[in-house]
Symmetry: D2
Subunit: 404 residues, 4 copies
Amino acid sequence: MDFTHDAHTEELRQRLLTFMDEHVYPAESVFAQQSRAGEPWTTPPVMEELKDKARSQGLWNLFLPGADGAGLTNLQYAPLAEITGRSPRIAPEALNCSAPDTGNMEVLSMFATEQQRKDWLEPLLAGRIRSAFAMTEPDVASSDATNIATRIERDGSDYVINGHKWWITGALNPNARIFIVMGKTDPDAERHRQQSMILVPRDTPGLEIRRGMTVYGYDDSDHGGHAELTLTDVRVPAHNLIGGEGDGFAIAQARLGPGRIHHCMRTIGIAERAIELMCRRAADRVAFGKPLAGQGVVRDWIAEARVRLEQLRLLVLKAAWLMDTSPEGAKGAHTEIQAIKIATPTTVEWILDKAIQVHGAAGLSQDIPLAQWAAQVRTLRFADGPDEVHKASLARKEIKRWAQ
Amino acid sequence: MDFTHDAHTEELRQRLLTFMDEHVYPAESVFAQQSRAGEPWTTPPVMEELKDKARSQGLWNLFLPGADGAGLTNLQYAPLAEITGRSPRIAPEALNCSAPDTGNMEVLSMFATEQQRKDWLEPLLAGRIRSAFAMTEPDVASSDATNIATRIERDGSDYVINGHKWWITGALNPNARIFIVMGKTDPDAERHRQQSMILVPRDTPGLEIRRGMTVYGYDDSDHGGHAELTLTDVRVPAHNLIGGEGDGFAIAQARLGPGRIHHCMRTIGIAERAIELMCRRAADRVAFGKPLAGQGVVRDWIAEARVRLEQLRLLVLKAAWLMDTSPEGAKGAHTEIQAIKIATPTTVEWILDKAIQVHGAAGLSQDIPLAQWAAQVRTLRFADGPDEVHKASLARKEIKRWAQ
Amino acid sequence: MDFTHDAHTEELRQRLLTFMDEHVYPAESVFAQQSRAGEPWTTPPVMEELKDKARSQGLWNLFLPGADGAGLTNLQYAPLAEITGRSPRIAPEALNCSAPDTGNMEVLSMFATEQQRKDWLEPLLAGRIRSAFAMTEPDVASSDATNIATRIERDGSDYVINGHKWWITGALNPNARIFIVMGKTDPDAERHRQQSMILVPRDTPGLEIRRGMTVYGYDDSDHGGHAELTLTDVRVPAHNLIGGEGDGFAIAQARLGPGRIHHCMRTIGIAERAIELMCRRAADRVAFGKPLAGQGVVRDWIAEARVRLEQLRLLVLKAAWLMDTSPEGAKGAHTEIQAIKIATPTTVEWILDKAIQVHGAAGLSQDIPLAQWAAQVRTLRFADGPDEVHKASLARKEIKRWAQ
Amino acid sequence: MDFTHDAHTEELRQRLLTFMDEHVYPAESVFAQQSRAGEPWTTPPVMEELKDKARSQGLWNLFLPGADGAGLTNLQYAPLAEITGRSPRIAPEALNCSAPDTGNMEVLSMFATEQQRKDWLEPLLAGRIRSAFAMTEPDVASSDATNIATRIERDGSDYVINGHKWWITGALNPNARIFIVMGKTDPDAERHRQQSMILVPRDTPGLEIRRGMTVYGYDDSDHGGHAELTLTDVRVPAHNLIGGEGDGFAIAQARLGPGRIHHCMRTIGIAERAIELMCRRAADRVAFGKPLAGQGVVRDWIAEARVRLEQLRLLVLKAAWLMDTSPEGAKGAHTEIQAIKIATPTTVEWILDKAIQVHGAAGLSQDIPLAQWAAQVRTLRFADGPDEVHKASLARKEIKRWAQ
C-alpha cells in the first residue's frame, strides 16, 4: 500500500495549486456575481476563460485514464481532485473534470462506437458541450436498479423511449447537448440484463424538461440545475445504443467506482477549505473579549475536524490504490469504495456544520460558501443509494467473513 | 408543576385543529404556488383570506397576554403554538402570531406611549401592517449586546440614527411599516444602560434596504426576507423612543423570554409534522421488496425521534409553567429558558435529518417542506446568541450550585 | 398532567433528605470498608443499623402501593426513589426498597395466597429476609419470553422444576431465602399462557448456585451478586404456584411497569450525584494554571448533562403520572414506559462518562463510585430486553398512528 | 507514504498468526482459570510456557528497534502489535512486548550506562524480570509534567527520594524488580529541566506498595495491578540516575512516541477481535425468529465498526511511517501521534460497546473478554494526558497554520 505522490503527480499538484491561487480563487466572486446577473441555467461567462487557461496549462481531463484523457491512475488523480474540491463550484468544471460529464466521458471512452465517439465524446473532451445522465426516477427507489420503469423499445431501426426522470443534473443548461438515458429493453430478462443505455440528443422531440429541482433552496442554476423531465415516444436511431441490449446495469456499475473516488476526494477538498475558513474566522472574530480561537469548544471542533479528515483521506487513497492495483480492478476495491461512500458525507457534513457555527449567521448566507457546500454534501448521503443500503451490504459481507 | 390543559385551552386547541384541517393544510400548495408566481418580498394573497377566517373564529393574537391580546398564559398558549408549528410558514402568520411581529407587539404593549400604541400597536394587532426588529449587526458578535455599534443621538427634539444591520427578518416586505431599532444613546453609560430602542417608520429618509440575505439558498421572500440595511442620518422625533434612554437592554431581555417559548413550541410542531411525514413515507415506500417501515434502522430513527421529542416538549412546558408561576417571572425560569434554547434546535434538527433521509432526494427538494424547515431550525442554533454561549452560562450557574 | 409534590410527598422528601445527610452519606465509606473485609456475598453489617433507623422514621417500603406498603402512588414515590438513587448501593436497601425484593413483594402483594403471604411476604416486608427472581436463561434471548426453557411439571401434589438460570441478582446472599422461578407449565398452550411462576425456598434440594457473574469486574458481592444456578428435579408443593398455571407471563408484565419507573428515577438520582461530583471536581482541580471549571469543554459537558437530565426526569414523571391516572393503568402508560426504558440508560451513561473524564484515572477507581455506577447503568441497556427491541416496538406503534 | 509489508514483516506476521492460533488463543481459558486460582498479583504459570515458545520461535522483543531488540521499524512492528492486540492480556507479554516493560527497555536501551544495562536491561530483555514506571501522582494533574511533586535529592554519593505515586502498572507483581521513578532534582531549573529519572530496585527500604487501584472492578492482578505507593527517604546510589540531572522530561518524551503507536495498534487488534466476536454472535444468536445478523440495527453497527476501524488503522500506520521516515523523527510525527492518541480510544470504545450490546448480559461478564477490554480502553482517554489536552494542543497548531 503505497500512497506516495510520484514525480508526475507532484508536478501536476504544484501546477494546479498555482492555478487555484492565480485563477480560481480570484474568480469565485466573479462567478457568484455573474451567476446572480445571468440567464437562468447557463454557465457564468468567466468559466470559459478559466477553461481556456486550464487547457493551455495541461490541466485538462485529468480524471480520465487511458489515451482519451490525461492517463492518470486513480491514485495519481486523487490528490488533484482534492485540490479542485477546495473551490468545488468552479475548479472541477474549469478543468473539464466535473460530474456528470466525467462519468459520461468514461462510459463513452470505454463503450462508445466510432461514430458515438466522434459525435459526443470528442466535443465533451474538448469542453465544447456538456451532457446529462438520466437514471433516477421519481416513483421508485433508485437504490434498486431493477425498479427502473423507463422503457426503451425497438421499433424497426429505431428505439422508442418512454419514461419519467428527475434529479438529472446539468440537464437544464442548454449546452447539455446529449443525454445518456437508462431504461429497460427487456423487462423479462434476468435481473441485471434488463437495462440498456442509450444516447438521446437534447433536441429530440418528446424529451421535455419540466422543471428544476432544488436542494435546500439552491437550484444550482449556474451548473445546469437538476431537471425533472419526461420522455414521450422519444425516437432515436438504434445505433445510439451504448454497448448492447442488456448491458445497462454493467455499464452503470463500471461508471460508479472511479466516480465515487473523485466525489470523495473533492468532498475532502471542501472539508479542507472549511477547516481553513473555520480557523481564520476563529482567529479573527472576537466575542466576550477574546478571539473564538481561545474558546475550548471551538478548539475541540477544530481538532476533531482535523483528526477525522486525516483518517478519511487515507481511506479514500487506499480505495484508489486498490482500484489501481487489484487484479480484479474496481471489484477488488468494492468494500473500500462502499466504505468511503458511507464515511465521506457524514464526516464532511460534521465539519461543515461546525465551520458554519463558528461563522454564525453569515455561515448560512450567500456571503460564505459553507451552506451551499453543506447542501451539496447532504445529497451524497443518498445519491447512488442511501448510506443505509451500503451499510447493510458491507455488514453482510463482514458477517460472512467470520461465520458461515 | 401542572401542565394540564384547562377547559379554555382545550376549547381553543380543538378550534385550532379544525382550522388547520379545514384551511391551513389545504392552503399550503396554494401558498407555495402564489409564492413562486408573485412579486418578490410580498406575501402570497391567500394569507389575507386565512387571516380573515382566523380572526372571525377568534384564533387571533393568541400569543399576547393581557388585555391587548387573547390574554393567555404561556402554558395556555404553548400547545396552540405547537399546533401552528405544524405548518410553520402559514399558520402563525394566519393567526397574527408570527415573529417578529409577536415580539414587537409585546414590546409595544408593555412599553409604548399612547401615541405609539395608536400609531403602531393598533394596526399590528389588527394585522394590517407588519414590522421589523433591527438589532443584529454584521461586524460584531451579537451574542454580546454591549458590542452594538449603531448610534442614536439626540439632536434638539429629534434623534439621529446611524448604523448597519443585517438579518432583519421581514424587512423587505413593503408592508413592514415600522422598524424597532436598537442602538446606543450613551456609549459611556454602565454596560447595560447604553442601549435604547426607537421606532423608525419604513419611509424615513436614510433608511436603506440593501439586499436580502439567504439561508441555505432560501430568501424567505414570502415572509419579507432577511434584510441587510443601513441607517444614515436617519432622523425621527424624540417621542419615537420606546421607554427612556438606556432602557434598550432591559426591553430586549423582556422581549426574549416568551419569544423563546413560542419558538420552541412551534419548532416542536415542526418535528411532529416531520415524524408524521417520515412514518407515512416509511409505510408507503417500498425498497428491496419491503416497505421502509420494515427496516430496523428506519424504525430505530422513528423511535428515537419520538423519545427525544416527548422529553423536549415537557421541558418547554415546564419553562412556560415556571414563567407563569414564578414570583420572579421570566427570571425565575432563566435556566429552563436557556435549556430549551439549547435543546430544541439540536433535537429537531436530528429529527428533520432522519425524516429527510427516509424521503431520499425528494426530502431535500421543494416538493416536501422538510429541507426548508431544516434550514429555518438550523438558524436557531445561533439566533439570540450561539448555543455555546448559553451552555457556558448555564454551566457556570450549575457549578456555583455545588462549589463556592 | 400535574407533577406537583403534594404535602405528604414533600414531607417524606424532607425526611428522606435529612436521613441521607445524617445516615446514608456518612455510611458510604463504612459500607465500602466492611464490604472489602467481610464474607463474600453477605451484606455489610452497617446495613442493618441503617434499616433500623429508616424503619423507625417511617422511611420503609415506600415503593409499595396499597395497604401492604406505604401506599404511595407512582408519582409520589418517584421523587423519593430519585433521592435514594443518590447513594444507590445503600439507600434503597436501607429503606427496604431495593430490587429484586421490590418486584417480588409487589408480585406477592398482588397474587399470593394467605399462606404465601405469611411465609414470604411478611418477612420480606419486615426486611428480615431477601429474595431472588429467577427468569433469565443463558441459552435463549430473554427479550422474548416464549423462549423460556425451564420446565415446571405437575407430579401429584408437587411441581418438579428443571432449568438453568443466570444473572439471578441477590441469589448468592445466604439470606435470600426465597426464589420466584419462572418456567413453562404447558409448552403447548397459547404463547402467553405457557409460563407460570413458582416459589422455591433456597434450601430446596436440587437448587444449586453455580457461581457469581461479574459486571465489568464487579461481583456485587455485598448485594448478593448475580448467580448462575441450576434446578435439577427441584420438588415443591403445588400450593407454591403463584396464581394459576399459565399466569406467569401476565404476572411478569404486571411486575415490570412500576419497577421500570423505580429504576429510572433511581438512575436519575445517580446522574444528579454524578453532576454534583463533576462540578465539585471541576471547581477544585487545577490544570495548566486554572480550574477545570474554566475549560470550555468541561462547561459544555456540564450544561449538556443538566439539559438532558431535566428532560429525562420530566418524561419519567409523566410515565408515573400516566400509570397512576390512566383508566388502563400501566397499559395506558405503555409507550411512555418504553420511552423511559430507552432514554434513561443512554442519557445517564453519557453523564457518568463525562463525570469520570473530569476525574481522570480516579474516576475509574474504587475511590470514586462513578465507575461502579456506570457498570450498573450499562446493564440497563439490555435488562428486560435490549433497547433495540423496545425501540422497534415503539416505532411500530408510531408508524401505525400515521399510516394504516 | 508506503505502508506495504516488506518480506521480513510478512514472514513475521505469518509466524505470529500461527503462534496465535496454536498457542495463544488456546491458552486464554487456561490463563483465566489460573488467574482466578492463583496468588494475587502474580502471573499465571502458563505465561512462562508461552514465553518459552515465543522466544524459541524468534517472536521476541519485536517492539525494540536497534541491536538490543528485533530491530524493526515502527511500520514493521505495527501490524505485529495489532495481532498481539487480538489477545491483549496474553500475547504481548508472551512476546516480551508488554507495557510498561517495553517503554522501560526503550529508555534503558537509549540512555542506560553499561552497569545499568547489565543489571536491568539484560534481565528485562531476557524476560526474567519485570519492571514499573513510576510517574503519575495522585495530587496533581499529570497531564502537566511540571506539576510533579516527588523529590530526588543528592546526598553525598546517593540520591534520596520522597514522593507519592499511583497507577503504577505492574508494580504489585513481586517479579517487578526495578522501578524507574520520575521526580524533581531541581525545582528551580527551567520548566523542562527540573525532572530526572532514577532506578529504584524493588527492595529498597522506604519504597512501600500501599494498595492496588481498580479500573471498573478489575484489579488486573494477573498483570501486577496498578499500585499506589510511597517513597520515604528512599536512598539509592547516584549512579542509578538515568542520563543526567534534568534529563527526565526529555527521556519521558522519547519514551512516549513509539509507545503510543504500539498502544494504538494493539487497541486496533482488540477492535478486530471484537468485530469478529460480534459477527459470530450475530450469526448464531436467534431472537424473535431470526438471527441477530438479520436485524438492520446490528448490521448498521457492524458496518460502522468496519468503516471506522479501517480509517483508524491507516492513520496509525501513517504515524508509524512518519516516525520512521521524518528527518525530525518522532517530532515530525507529532500531530499524527496526537491524532491517533485522540482517535483510537473513542473509536474502539464505540466498537466494544456495540459488540457488548450484541452479546447481551454475557458481554459484560467474565465469560466474554469484551467488558475487560472496554475497561482497559477507557483508561486510554486520559492516560498520558486527557484527550481534551491533546485536542486543544492540536487545534492551536491547526489554527496557527491558517492565521498568524
